[in-house]
């Protein structure tokens, strides 16, 4: 699943650790999501969406469409 987490994080000038702290996950999890090695759970995806004040589908793109 593709995502815009890296771009969104860059616009806020947050490091991976900053974002990890805000979401209550580890830095490795943020890195794995950004490099598309790991797809987040629905609750975490909602948290990301809430944090960036954007709809989920704007951040995460379903590549199986």
């Amino acid at each position: 699943m593709k995502n815009k987490l890296h771009e969104l994080r860059a616009t806020k000038k947050w490091s991976q650790s900053d974002l990890a702290d805000k979401l209550g996950v580890s830095r490795q999890t943020i890195n794995a999501i950004e490099t598309e090695k790991y797809d987040p759970s629905l609750p975490l995806a909602f948290k990301v969406a809430r944090l960036f004040k954007k709809p989920i589908e704007e951040i995460f793109e379903d590549t199986e469409k």
Binding site: G24, V25, Q28, A32
Partner: protein, 201 residues
């Protein structure tokens, strides 16, 4: 707009900013002794009390560890010879204390895993499954080789302290095989953890 309850839930999640990470328990730069004790303190207690109960009630301990009465006069001269005459209730309590501590250890491990974030929880559970399957395979294979007489041919004569490698005695939690099984579990856990962790790096 979030209502008050939803807002509290969201904030409670955000307050938990430091999820547990498995590296805190693995020797390395992130290792934390206190985190290790928080998780494995009950395991340490279980091992120590199991050792005490083994020395008191199990006749094969002195043979495995080459312990002599002259070195341990109170245990092997005074307590151990009379342990069989102790009331059943006392012996049951002595034997069950390590089991109780083991259960508490399982609870602390479960809590530790629950405190991880979702990625590390997945890696840890995958590593645990890998460890259990790996250990079972080794134990079963070892047992089959032993029954076929292969091990006897290889380890002839058997070298102490492992005088007999028969996993049939595992049902009695025979000391050397119990320790060996724990070592195998740890070995496969660390192996599995490094394999599955690499996938997400």
């Amino acid at each position: 707009m979030l209502d008050k309850k939803a807002s509290m839930l969201y904030n409670a999640g955000a307050m938990n900013n430091k999820p547990n990470i498995p590296e805190k328990l693995i020797p390395g730069k992130n290792y934390s002794f206190w985190a290790d004790m928080k998780v494995n303190g009950w395991l340490t207690s279980a091992i120590l009390t199991a050792f005490v109960s083994d020395m008191l009630l199990h006749s094969d301990v002195s043979r495995y560890f080459h312990l002599h009465e002259k070195d341990w006069p109170v245990v092997f001269g005074l307590l151990h010879p009379h342990a069989e005459d102790w009331p059943v209730v006392i012996r049951v309590i002595i034997e069950l204390i390590p089991v109780l501590f083991s259960l508490l250890w399982v609870r602390s491990v479960a809590r530790w895993i629950r405190g991880m974030d979702e990625l590390h929880r997945r890696i840890t559970l995958e590593a645990c499954l890998f460890a259990v399957i790996g250990t079972l395979l080794v134990v079963i294979t070892w047992h089959r080789l032993d029954k076929a007489g292969v091990l006897e041919a290889i380890f002839q004569p058997p070298s102490p302290p492992f005088e007999h490698w028969d996993f049939r005695q595992f049902a009695h939690l025979d000391l050397n095989q119990f320790v060996l099984t724990i070592v195998l579990l740890w070995f496969f856990y660390f192996l599995g953890h490094s394999i599955f962790n690499r996938r997400y790096k």
